[in-house]
Symmetry: C2
Subunit: 257 residues, 2 copies
């Protein structure tokens, strides 16, 4: 029996994920997506939307359930333009997994392009389990359905600090390292900013060590900034910083059209 | 026995709350604050900081424990200037209490002046229990210690929609009603904004009803805005909106000095 839920606010609740989509094909929904379809009480021959997480958004028709499988016919593709900018969050691995779950959900909702976790000296935990990554992928799908996003953020796990540094070194764009002891605010940088790719660099609960900080000072594309007055928790800093960047970029590109 | 915790990053972890403070007096910490003092392994005759939540910040001396009570001598007052602006969040009561807990914690960290909850037509729950409000007061204390804030936000519970409307009506400042169907972004308003008091108005999970929306349209100081592209969950909208306002205001007052 389908579970009764309160009436959905947006038709986006009729929006389902399948990783490989092509016009005219019939696809089988994953068990999770099939379950959501039943929860939403969608009946056979209903129109739904399908999304592949990489910008592919399709009108589709729910055909019905056969052998416990939910069959959907992929119909017309709807053109979706990727956002003209990228915001990535790079967060030191946190001790509390629930706080990372939370960050994945919220950062996905606001529309970041990547959420990366790296081990640093003050990380109490240095590895992310495969189980946790699977959980995050589900959080991403649900948050994207919730917020109507068809470009899913990438979840990136940096196995070592050195791997992280090499990616940081090669990043084409501006990196903002959030540091509550800094006087210059992120907003002071943004007004003159012309880049289209931004990364936000946030330490784990204990912050960065002196050695790590010295490494960052040697990179010319890393700007040390404060976000707001006061000291923010690590995952709050990530979300607030990304919100400020997204707000700035949304405004810039809205005005340029 | 005190519990061993990882080394605190900021000395603000030696920062305790007591509601009534005066120079030269000896006060008894609450059991919760006494417990935190033990967790932080603070020994008698150690200097600590005391805060009353209304801007009073004092140097103090931990005298020791007598009859299970932690005694502290209040010493010199440190002058703290209140922030030159106010940001209030008014949030429709959410169905999931954990999401409200989360909002109270994060909004406190970023430094809002008030967090209010009001019942609206699509709120699944219409009342906040006294137990929940007590829990929020503790969350506020912990978040303020964490972020070094000495002006605690007020938690306001509006018993009815009409109570809420009367406060909304009398509010001296700009109110931003967040609505994902609106085209004008919050940032478009801010550049010309001269107010010092702002309130952010966010609906419950199902949004506002047509009738509620019509009421808002009759108030001239309510501006309907979108925050970012995409649809945000209710509590995410509150935090993102407040972050954008705080970021703007921090920047404005940093530049004016």
């Amino acid at each position: 029996m389908p579970i009764l839920k309160s009436k959905p606010l947006f038709p986006m609740s009729h929006f389902f994920f399948h990783p490989v989509l092509r016009e005219g094909k019939v696809v089988i929904l994953s068990p999770e997506e099939g379950f959501h379809l039943e929860v939403e009480r969608i009946i056979p021959q209903s129109p739904i939307m399908l999304c592949d997480g990489r910008g592919g958004l399709f009108k589709a028709l729910y055909l019905g359930k056969r052998d416990q499988k939910h069959l959907v016919e992929v119909r017309e593709r709807i053109e979706k333009v990727p956002p003209p900018y990228r915001v990535e969050i790079w967060q030191g691995i946190l001790h509390a997994p629930a706080r990372m779950d939370w960050l994945v959900e919220k950062a996905t909702e606001i529309g970041v392009s990547e959420i990366g976790f790296f081990p640093s000296e003050r990380s109490v935990v240095f590895q992310i389990s495969a189980h946790r990554v699977e959980r995050w992928k589900k959080i991403v799908i649900n948050a994207c359905k919730q917020s109507g996003r068809v470009f899913f953020p990438e979840i990136r796990i940096f196995p070592t600090w050195e791997d992280f540094l090499s990616v940081l070194f090669c990043f084409k764009g501006s990196v903002f390292w959030t540091d509550p002891t800094e006087k210059v605010a992120l907003s002071n940088f943004l007004s003159d900013e012309r880049e289209r790719a931004f990364a936000l660099l946030v330490g784990p609960e204990g912050g960065f060590t002196e050695k790590e900080r010295e490494t960052f000072f040697t990179f010319s594309h890393i700007h040390r900034v404060k976000l707001l007055s006061g000291i923010l928790r690590s995952e709050t800093a990530s979300l607030v910083g990304a919100s400020l960047l997204m707000g700035f970029l949304d405004g810039r590109y809205a005005n340029s059209h």
